[in-house]
Amino acid sequence: MKLKAPIFATLAAGAILATSAVAETELTVYTAVEAEDLARYAETFNASHPDIKINWVRDSTGIVTAKLLAERDNPQADVVWGLAATSLLLLKSEGMLEGYAPVGVEKLDAKFVDGDNPPAWVGMDAWVASVCYNTVEAEKAGLKPPTSWKDLTDPMYAGHLIMPNPNSSGTGFLDVSSWLQMFGEEGGWAYMDALHENIARYTHSGSKPCKLAAAGEIPIGISFAFRGAKSKAAGAPLEIIVPSEGVGWDMEATAIVAGTANLEAAKTLVDFTVTLEANEMYNTGYAVVAMPGVAKPVEHFPEGLLDAMIDNDFEFAANNRAAILSEWQSRYDGKSDPK
């Protein structure tokens, strides 16, 4: 009798799994890359490697990170392809990543490769904070476009501002960590105290502020440039503003999960992620990619974005993440009365 339940469960699980059984190698790849890009990535990869099938696990940065950490003792993923470097550093500090130097890694900008040898992760592209500004709604509300982060604390913007909650969004966290790096610890918190007065609410995801701005639900959304460019291309009356102090950024990176049963296939995939072909592929949405000289300008991307990127200290971000988030939460998350 004791045996029955496990057997039943295993059979049921087996029956459900069996439907997708095929002869090729399957890789479970965790990613936070935008859903609409995933099919294209897989297609490009499969063009040269038809024998490896990618099963995407796609979710927002926070959720994917949570999943990976939750599965620390029993990893389900073979490869992480397209997750914030800050998150990968967390995984690395848990000893969850398999060091591997992909073929051709030396062609990448050193900034985009983990310092260890072999590197625990390699970067793909950079993902840069910006402000999405709905010109139509801003005009209705009589707002002037901001030019800097400091501008956003102007009382004029009170209630017209939305940003992602750093506790659930990677974009939100990169904003917070960049302010702390740019303005110093005290200055950073003082800035956020002032900004908080203007924030209508914090969203759970990083792309939502820009989408809300595009939909006119709010005039100004602190989000990231790529999302803004997409909404603009879709016809939203958006202006993408790069604040003059500089913008935080994070990179999307790739790593092999330690203990994967498909190490060879995983290496093949990671090899592919650093190729010229892959970098060109990233360039469709990202203005900054890991291989120097590849990037071509992306439509609707704000000018001067590359120069505005701050000198980001990922280790600072990763190692102080818990402390920053708990401080942020105690300062702003208790706010029950939205403005």
Partner: protein, 671 residues
């Protein structure tokens, strides 16, 4: 023989009955299903509870350090960080408690530390299992590691697991978290009052007036059950958001917060309250009204002395059910709650946002308490309601009254407009190209494959989940209920089984889902294989909705003659033959009800499965959540309406199918 000897049992052993083959089969069956409930509910909850007591703390005693002089020569003196801290008093006891992600820099223990100095440091783990970081590299070895000052700056120690109340202390000393209890109770109480009042008059109109279109109103009242609880949130964004169609009605107040949560909660809990109160009103005794009329009591007095007391158990029960639904709901406050934090969303934020599973477990424990209380009171009240039902009463026949019927018709039309309006807004939003800038109609929002959430596959996954849950769940639930209702003896086992069967209702979905992660995603667990599969979603959904299904089955079985099993045994026929030939066919209407209940809930559930889905098993209801989260609100509305139409279609098919089946198998009823 004297009376004294007749008043006590004689000494000696009692007769122990020999078990028949049927007894053994039935007890084994009950054991298997009880084991199922233990494995799918008790164990995971236990895993969660122990997780809430599992804390992380820095253990300074498990490291050793050495410091060199300016030239980089080590004297060999070994320093213990614990002693250093004791001398310097840098870190207090509170600083030692942390989360799984905690890090503690060591440089503060050296007051004259400078990263430019030429002093070198050595560090090592004193015991196995110790962990420290240099930069992002994890060190678990026991060997000495030599670091220059600039690198030692990057050395941080990692916490070790411990057990204690640390998480709870932490929770109650964090106002941001603690406030949520107040918020949750606040919206639950307000929503309960509003919903129960609205539902009472609606049910009253349907049971006690002669207004027209009763069937239509009944249908409309039940519609919200067919959609995920977060769909009204989306409708409210379109109605009252900053670009809302009728946002002026809020006079500048924001829909994102308690107002939105309460309106949405009223929408999705309305059918539950309506059903319960309607049942209570339907069983009220007409003779009491006749008595009131003959005593020349005014209608108002009759209402307060007859109607309300007669329906009081229904009202109390409805109130607790609504309270429970609202306080445990996660989807709606996630969508429309803004900065108004509630417990269920806190669990999500702790787990998903901060990867703080321990704190998630703590919030879960906190959330379970009001849920269990509400559940307990509801059960007590319901048992009294049953007693009322069994009393012989004469059904009340309303008499027409042009004025009252008109008022009720207007009222019900208002409520129906509210319900249908919310659904219509969602459907409308789904078909608009780009609200509010491009109002052309388009099907763009149905291109789910281009959005987050798993695309159309998630829709079909949901249908698959619904069907498997309906078939597997109905079989387990009904067979389990049969075994516990109709087997002989084995009292303790049956009582225990009943308790297990009632428990799921008190466990919020979020809590169950989180408990499943702790229990199933553990490599030491042989059931680990189900993690990430459709099977775990099926198991979770069946368990989550076990109680109501079980009660439906038990009610049906109680109406069966108690002696069927005795007759069958006297005729030396296996009980399972009786089960197949008689019990199942006779209970078929209830069995079909259970299966549609499971199907509809599997389609709409969010909270229980949000932690459990995998890339191959994304679900439509989760897709609604994720698309909304990513800002794709219109596609979220589109998917939500797909769930609505699917559930509505399922109900219609269920209706037609059950009519057909009933006609063939239940010929004995009609004749």
């Amino acid at each position: 023989m004297s009376d004294a000897t007749l008043n006590t049992l004689p000494e000696g052993p009692n007769i122990k009955g020999k078990l028949s083959r049927d007894d053994i089969i039935m007890r084994a069956g009950m054991g298997v299903i009880a084991l199922y409930l233990v494995v799918t509910m008790v164990f995971p909850l236990y895993a969660m509870l122990s997780k809430s007591f599992s804390t992380y703390q820095f253990d300074l005693a498990t490291y050793e350090l050495q410091v060199s002089d300016e030239e980089g020569n080590f004297s060999g003196e070994i320093l213990n960080p614990l002693n250093l801290n004791a001398t310097l008093g840098i870190y207090g006891d509170d600083d030692m408690i942390t989360g799984s992600d905690g890090r503690l820099p060591l440089t503060k223990l050296f007051p004259d530390f400078s990263f430019r100095s030429t002093v070198k440091y050595k560090i090592r783990n004193k015991v196995e299992g110790g962990r420290f970081l240099v930069g992002s590299t994890l060190h678990t070895e026991l060997d000495w590691l030599e670091l220059d000052s600039n690198t030692f700056r990057r050395a941080q120690i990692r916490p070790v697991k411990a057990t204690g109340f640390g998480n709870f202390i932490n929770y109650f000393s964090t106002p941001a978290l603690f406030n949520s209890i107040k918020n949750s109770l606040f919206i639950a109480v307000i929503s309960t009052i509003v919903t129960v009042s609205l539902a009472f008059w609606f049910a009253y109109a349907l049971n006690r007036s002669c207004m027209r279109f009763k069937g239509f109103f009944r249908l409309v009242a039940m519609a919200p059950i067919l959609v995920p609880s977060l769909l009204p949130g989306i409708a409210l964004v379109y109605l009252f958001g900053n670009q809302g169609m009728i946002k002026e009605l809020l006079f500048g107040a924001s829909i994102y917060g308690p107002i939105g949560i309460v309106i949405g909660s009223v929408f999705f809990t309305f059918p539950h309250a309506f059903l319960i109160i309607s049942t209570a009103l339907a069983i009220s005794d007409a003779r009491l009204y006749e008595a009131a009329v003959s005593l020349r009591a005014s209608p108002w007095r009759t209402f307060w002395t007859v109607t309300i007391p007669g329906a009081r158990y229904g009202l109390i029960s409805a109130a607790f059910v609504v309270f429970n639904l609202v306080i445990t709901d996660f989807g709606l406050p996630k969508v429309i709650g803004g900065q108004f934090n509630v417990l269920a969303v806190d669990i999500y934020k702790q787990v998903i946002g901060q990867q703080n599973f321990e704190m998630g477990a703590v919030v879960s424990v906190v959330l379970v308490i009001p849920a269990i209380l509400a559940f307990g009171i509801d059960r007590m009240v319901q048992s009294k309601q049953v007693a009322l039902l069994s009393a012989r009463s004469v059904p009340y026949q309303p008499t027409p009254s042009a004025k009252m019927d008109g008022i009720f018709l207007a009222y019900c039309t208002g409520v129906a407009l509210f319900v249908l309006g919310m659904l219509a807004v969602c459907q409308f939003a789904a078909l608009i190209k780009f609200w509010p800038y491009d109002l052309n109609l388009s099907l763009n929002n149905y291109q789910f494959d281009k959005m987050d959430g798993g695309g159309w596959a998630s829709y079909f996954n949901s249908i698959k989940l619904g069907l498997i849950t309906a078939v597997v769940g109905t079989s387990i639930v009904f067979f389990g209920a049969y075994l516990v209702e109709k087997s002989n003896g084995f009292r303790i086992g049956r009582a225990l089984f009943q308790m297990f069967a009632m428990l799921p209702m008190a466990i919020p979905g979020m809590v169950l889902g989180l408990a499943y992660i702790f229990f199933f995603n553990n490599p030491a667990n042989p059931l680990n294989a189900v993690y990430g599969t459709m099977a775990i979603l099926v198991i979770c959904t069946v368990t989550h909705f076990y109680t109501v299904s079980h009660l439906t089955a038990v009610t049906a079985l109680k109406q069966m003659d108690r002696e069927f099993e005795s007759v069958s045994a006297s005729l030396k026929q296996p009980t399972l033959k009786l089960f197949g030939r008689v019990t199942v066919p006779v209970c078929l209407p209830s069995i079909l009800d259970i299966s549609i209940y499971l199907f509809v809930n599997a389609m709409t559930t969010v909270s229980a499965v949000v932690f459990l889905y995998s890339p191959k098993t994304t679900l439509a209801s989760i897709a609604v959540l994720n698309m909304d989260d990513a800002g794709d609100v219109a596609p979220a509305a589109a998917m939500g309406m797909m769930i609505f139409y699917t559930n509505a279609a399922a109900r219609i098919i269920h209706l037609i199918a059950s009519r057909g089946i009933l006609k063939r198998t239940q010929a004995w009823r009609t004749q």
